[in-house]
C-alpha cells in the first residue's frame, strides 16, 4: 500500500512541482529580460519575435508539442545534432516536460512583465541615469523593483500554467509513470483506467496546491501594497 501511494500519488506530485519550479525559474529570468526589452527598446523584428513567442498561447498545446518534436526530437531540426554528438535526446525525459512548460508559460511571463514595465514612469529611469547610474543598474534598482508585482504575477501564472500543462508535455515527454507523468497526465491515466479513487486524490491535491499558490501570492502582494503605509501608522501612533 505504501509503495503504491508512493508511486501513484507522490511521484506525479513531486515531478509536477519539480518541473514547474525549474521551468518557472527559467521563465522568470528570460521572460523578465524579454518583457523589459519589448517594453523599452526598439530592435530588429520586434513585432515578429513578439508574435512568435505569443503563438503557444493561442495554438492548441498539442500543436506546440508537435513543433517541439520537430525541433527537439531525436530526428528534429536541432535535436539530431544533440543526439549525434552526445547520444542523448531530450524527448521522453523529465527535462522535456520542463521545456514544454517553459514554452507554454513563457508568453504569460513576457506579457505580464511587459505590461508592468510599461506602467513604470520612464522619467524615473531618466532620473536614475542622470544621477550617473548605468542602464543595467537602473533596470535592477529602479525599473524591476517598481514592476515587481508584475514579475511576481508572471511567475505565479507561469508556475500555475506549468502545473497544469498537459498537451505539449504529452507530445514531447510522453506519459511515462515515475519519469514524465506529471499530475495532469497521471489524472488522465487514472481516469482512463477507471481508477476513480486515484483520480479523485490527485485532483484534490492539485486543487489544494493551486489554491495555496494563489493564496500565498495574494498575501505577498498585499504585504507589498502596504510598504509605504508603515510610516503612516508610526506617525499616527506619535500623534
Amino acid at each position: 500500500m505504501t509503495t503504491s501511494i508512493m508511486e501513484t500519488v507522490w511521484l506525479p506530485l513531486r515531478l509536477s512541482i519539480q518541473v514547474s519550479i525549474v521551468s518557472t525559474i527559467m521563465v522568470a529570468l528570460t521572460g523578465t529580460a524579454l518583457g523589459y526589452l519589448l517594453s523599452r527598446k526598439d530592435f530588429f523584428a520586434k513585432d515578429v519575435i513578439d508574435a512568435i513567442i505569443t503563438l503557444p498561447m493561442v495554438l492548441p498545446p498539442t500543436v506546440t508539442g508537435y513543433y517541439l518534436i520537430l525541433i527537439l526530437g531525436r530526428r528534429g531540426f536541432l535535436g539530431q545534432f544533440v543526439y549525434n554528438w552526445t547520444g542523448w535526446t531530450l524527448a521522453f525525459t523529465w527535462q522535456a516536460a520542463v521545456v514544454a512548460s517553459f514554452v507554454v508559460s513563457f508568453p504569460l511571463m513576457v506579457k505580464t512583465v511587459r505590461a508592468a514595465v510599461d506602467s513604470v514612469d520612464p522619467e524615473l529611469e531618466k532620473a536614475s541615469l542622470l544621477l550617473g547610474k548605468g542602464e543595467v543598474e537602473t533596470v535592477v534598482k529602479i525599473t524591476l523593483p517598481l514592476a515587481w508585482k508584475g514579475v511576481l504575477a508572471g511567475m505565479v501564472l507561469s508556475f500555475a500554467r506549468g502545473i497544469g500543462e498537459f498537451g505539449a508535455t504529452l507530445m514531447l515527454a510522453g506519459n511515462i509513470p515515475g519519469k514524465t507523468a506529471t499530475m495532469p497526465l497521471a489524472i488522465y491515466s487514472a481516469t482512463q483506467s477507471g481508477d476513480s479513487v486515484l483520480a479523485n486524490s490527485l485532483v484534490i491535491i492539485l486543487t489544494l496546491l493551486s489554491l495555496t499558490v494563489i493564496y500565498v501570492t495574494n498575501r505577498l502582494s498585499r504585504k507589498g501594497l502596504t510598504f509605504g503605509r508603515d510610516i503612516d501608522y508610526k506617525r499616527a501612533s506619535n500623534l
Binding site: D121, E123, L124, K126, A127, S128, L129, L130, L131, G132, K133, E137, K141, I142, P145, L146, F227, G228, I231, D232, R235
Partner: protein
C-alpha cells in the same frame, strides 16, 4: 562652463531648434523664460544627453557632446554623456523621486553606488542637508507621504548629493500648489547665492527678476532676446518679448 553652439534639432519634419547658442559662465545664473512649448525643457534635456540633437555642439566643463544623426549613439558618445551627467545635476517638474525608496535612500543611493562614497558618510551628509532644508524628520518617509514642495526639496537634495558643478532646473515649481512654490524657490535661491552655476526654466517671473544674472527668452525654438533681468523686464526692446511679458505679467 556650459557652451551651446548653433544647436539644431528636428522632430521628423519639424525644425524644433533653429540654431541656439548660449554660453553659461561658471557661477552664472541663467533663467530661461518663454511660452510653453517654446523648447525650454527640450533644450535643458539636450545639455545632459536626455535628448539628442542633429546639428551643433554642446560643451559642458570641457566635455563635448556632439550632434547625433545616427539612430544609435556610439560608445564614445555614451561615455561623454555619462561624464556630463556626473557634472550636471537636474531637477524635474515632476520631482521623479524613486517611490520605492525612503527620502534618505533616494539621496544616498547614487553617491554610494556611483561615486563610491561610504554609506555612513553619505548618510551623514544627506542628513546635514535635510536639516538645512528642515526635513531631517522626514528622512525615513516615502515620497508618497510628502507634499509636492517637500518632494521637490528632496529632489534638489538628491541632485546636490552628487556634488555637481552645475544645476539644471526644468520648471521646478510648475506642478506645485501655490503655497509651496516659495519653499522650493528659497532652497534654489540659497544654492544660487552659494555660487552654483544654474540654468533654470520657469514661469516665476519674480524669481527670475530677483535671482537671475541673465534672462534668456525662448520662442519657437529660438532665443529671441537675452539680457540682465532689469533690462528684460523693465525695458524690453524686442517686440515678441514685450508681448510675451504683457501676457504673463498681466
Amino acid at each position: 562652463m556650459i557652451i551651446v553652439r548653433d544647436l539644431h534639432k528636428y522632430y521628423g519634419d519639424h525644425h524644433l531648434f533653429k540654431g541656439i547658442s548660449l554660453d553659461v559662465k561658471k557661477g552664472e545664473v541663467v533663467v530661461l523664460i518663454g511660452p510653453s512649448g517654446s523648447g525650454k525643457s527640450t533644450f535643458l534635456r539636450c545639455i545632459n544627453g536626455l535628448e539628442t540633437f542633429q546639428e551643433g555642439e554642446i560643451d559642458v566643463d570641457n566635455i563635448a557632446l556632439h550632434s547625433i544623426s545616427r539612430p544609435k549613439p556610439s560608445s564614445a558618445d555614451m561615455e561623454a554623456i555619462r561624464q556630463v551627467r556626473l557634472k550636471v545635476g537636474m531637477v524635474f517638474q515632476q520631482f521623479n523621486l524613486f517611490p520605492h525608496m525612503t527620502v534618505l535612500e533616494n539621496i544616498v543611493e547614487a553617491p554610494v553606488r556611483v561615486l563610491g562614497i561610504a554609506r555612513d558618510k553619505a548618510e551623514k551628509e544627506a542628513m546635514a542637508f535635510l536639516a538645512r532644508i528642515n526635513m531631517a524628520n522626514k528622512a525615513d518617509a516615502r515620497p508618497e507621504n510628502l507634499s509636492g514642495g517637500q518632494q521637490q526639496r528632496v529632489a534638489i537634495a538628491r541632485a546636490l548629493a552628487m556634488k555637481p558643478k552645475a544645476m539644471l532646473f526644468d520648471e521646478p515649481t510648475a506642478s506645485l500648489d501655490p503655497e509651496m512654490v516659495g519653499e522650493v524657490l528659497s532652497v534654489i535661491k540659497d544654492l544660487v547665492n552659494e555660487g552654483m552655476t544654474t540654468v533654470i526654466s520657469t514661469h516665476e517671473m519674480g524669481f527670475a527678476r530677483e535671482a537671475a544674472d541673465r534672462v534668456v527668452v525662448f520662442a519657437d525654438g529660438e532665443i529671441i532676446d537675452t539680457g540682465p533681468p532689469d533690462e528684460i523686464f523693465s525695458n524690453p526692446k524686442n517686440e515678441r518679448t514685450k508681448s510675451f511679458l504683457s501676457r504673463i505679467l498681466r
